[in-house]
């Protein structure tokens, strides 16, 4: 970072490369027009509500039930993804097995597959007569059109976030550290617990937070499998849609403000976690 700072003062006095004003100007104009001004509209629109009205909208029982479902299931899904995502990343980095490259490529499927397609596919699988549902139903486990369905969809959506943040850190690990620990008599589990996990932890938490943030806002894959029963299986983004369909723009916007505030807080948290990852591993974000 030191030379960059010196360089900064130099380039401020004399810039060799052209196009600074043009590209920065265009960037700021386009960013404002497409993203910032429309997002500001959400906050301006809520200003048309009084504080009491705003509070009534965002604390209505049906909306609160949707927060509980959305945040609860997103946390659970992110936790499941952190656990299995770590195992999957570990397998992909540490073991060789047939079909590994195809599996590695397919881990990104939830990024590439349109959410509506994932939604109807999961619903078909987990319905009572579906390929997975038919085995769960006799056990008394119903997934589709129940809150559990929301969890399944969110696990699908979030998995690559954990795998893709943990995988590069695992690849970068020096074998020397583990060898040193082993030569000093540490068991394999102790090495994992005291040598590998501390290095992985920031990346694992980043992956967890990314999966959580994505899950909270997710809509397409969830609405097909959730059943959307008021007070039971309605997610918060669906509440916005419901208000919009009733032409209650102010109400929809009030809920959107709550979600945006949560999203921005998560964004700050993730930026912090990524900085922590970088400092722990000496790796650039």
């Amino acid at each position: 970072m030191h030379w960059e700072r010196q360089d900064m003062s130099a380039s401020r006095t004399f810039r060799v490369l052209p196009g600074f004003r043009l590209t920065l100007g265009y960037t700021l104009a386009y960013l404002s027009l497409i993203v910032l001004l429309p997002l500001a509209a959400v906050f301006l629109k809520t200003a048309s509500l009084s504080i009491a009205e705003f509070w009534n909208v965002i604390s209505a029982p049906r909306v609160v039930a949707s927060y509980k479902l959305s945040f609860g299931m997103s946390l659970a899904a992110a936790a499941i993804n952190a656990m299995f995502g770590l195992l999957l990343a570990w397998s992909l980095v540490r073991y060789s097995f047939p079909g590994k490259r195809v599996i590695d490529a397919l881990v990104d499927l939830p990024f590439a597959l349109p959410t509506a397609v994932a939604g109807i596919a999961l619903t078909a699988l987990y319905a009572k007569n579906g390929r997975i549902g038919q085995y769960l139903d006799p056990l008394g486990i119903q997934v589709a059109f129940k809150p559990l369905g929301v969890l399944v969809a969110l696990v699908f959506i979030g998995l690559p976030f954990v795998v893709r943040t943990v995988q590069p850190i695992l690849e970068d690990l020096d074998t020397e550290l583990e060898e040193a620990a082993a030569s000093l008599g540490a068991r394999r589990w102790q090495i994992f617990r005291h040598v590998i996990l501390p290095v992985l932890l920031p990346a694992l938490l980043t992956g967890f937070a990314l999966a959580f943030a994505r899950a909270v806002g997710e809509y397409g894959s969830v609405i097909f499998i959730a059943g959307n029963i008021p007070m039971v299986s309605e997610i918060t983004p669906l509440m916005i849609i419901t208000k919009l369909e009733q032409y209650d723009y102010a109400g929809a916007t009030a809920i959107a403000v709550v979600m945006l505030v949560v999203s921005f807080a998560l964004l700050l948290l993730i930026n912090g976690l990524q900085a922590w990852t970088a400092s722990r591993t000496g790796r650039e974000r």
């Binding site: 360089d7 900064m8 401020r12 060799v16 490369l17 196009g19 499927l109 650039e284």
Partner: protein
């Protein structure tokens, strides 16, 4: 937000990096541990990722190729394909130009608030797609700020194609920029400065020096951007109004068919989108393979960080 989607230049292509760990006593587990971990992780992969993908194609062909074909050549499906392509053809180039501009300004120059600007560019990834649709309804909708003026001039944005394009532009906004900014920061500006000193103008410098250096990152960003543009559901759903044969993109068409219990047809259309996803992943893997000059690029990253 895009942290996980950006290109891991040195990662996936080291095909047998696992040997590094498996060949040493200190870095490998007992066989039963290894097989347990592999078993659990691959079962999880199969159940949560592979099965849904396979299910799309099985369900699509459940009633035979005849039904499959007729679902795809149906008038409404063809219109949805056309609209989806239109939205992508407009949104991807717009965000491509933006991504290159933003990366040039951020990577080649120093100015205050740079980190904040990068965070702002990432914003659309952390906003729920439903909110991405909502913001344009608030501005251009019948009750929105510009609504009355637009109605007077007979311009339709919400429940029409422009709204769909706008929502698509928003949700795919950061893809190219996110890919190019770290890449161009890592490459520094010496090569461009040399070109300028030797008498090239700005455009020549970009075309002959910068572009060849960033082409794989650019392609990578464009592919991901395109996949999202064609597959977006939530944001487009809010602004489209679901008018058949007019404002239905492919994902929305899937929803309509599904809600009408035309499951085979819904999955047939969905299989097109699943194929698109598979092609996207194939090209993405190929780009990673081409771009991954092994550890070379990783060293460049570390140089820039130190």
């Amino acid at each position: 937000m895009a942290g996980a989607t950006t290109l891991n230049w040195a990662g996936a292509m080291q095909a047998d990096a696992a040997v590094r760990f498996e060949s040493r006593e200190a870095t490998r587990e007992a066989p039963w541990v290894k097989w347990t971990i592999l078993g659990i992780s691959l079962t999880f992969f199969a159940v949560f990722l592979l099965l849904p993908l396979v299910a799309v194609f099985i369900e699509a062909l459940r009633k035979g190729w005849g039904t499959y074909g007729s679902a795809l050549v149906h008038e409404d499906a063809l219109w949805a394909i056309k609209l989806t392509l239109t939205a992508a053809v407009i949104a991807v180039p717009l965000n491509l130009v933006f991504g290159v501009c933003a990366a040039w300004a951020i990577a080649k120059f120093e100015f205050r608030g740079k980190h904040f600007l990068i965070t702002l560019i990432d914003l659309p990834f952390s906003v729920s797609p439903v909110i991405a649709g909502l913001i344009y309804v608030l501005i251009f909708g019948a009750q929105g700020w510009l609504g009355p003026w637009l109605a007077d001039h007979d311009i339709r944005i919400i429940f029409a194609v422009p709204g769909i394009v706008l929502a698509t532009v928003f949700v795919t906004f950061p893809f190219v920029a996110r890919e190019l900014i770290p890449l161009m920061q890592a490459q520094g500006r010496e090569e461009e400065e040399a070109a300028i000193v030797l008498g090239a103008n700005g455009w020549q410098t970009f075309w002959y020096v910068t572009l060849p250096n960033i082409k794989w990152g650019l392609l990578y960003g464009v592919i991901l951007c395109n996949a999202r543009a064609m597959g977006e559901f939530g944001a487009v759903s809010v602004v489209s109004g679901h008018i058949r044969g007019q404002t239905n993109t492919l994902p929305l068409h899937v929803e309509i068919l599904y809600n009408e219990y035309q499951f085979a047809a819904a999955f047939a259309v969905a299989s097109l989108l699943a194929l698109l996803a598979l092609v996207t992943l194939a090209i993405k893997t190929w780009v990673e393979h081409r771009a991954g000059g092994g550890n070379r690029s990783r060293e460049a990253h570390q140089d820039a960080a130190s």
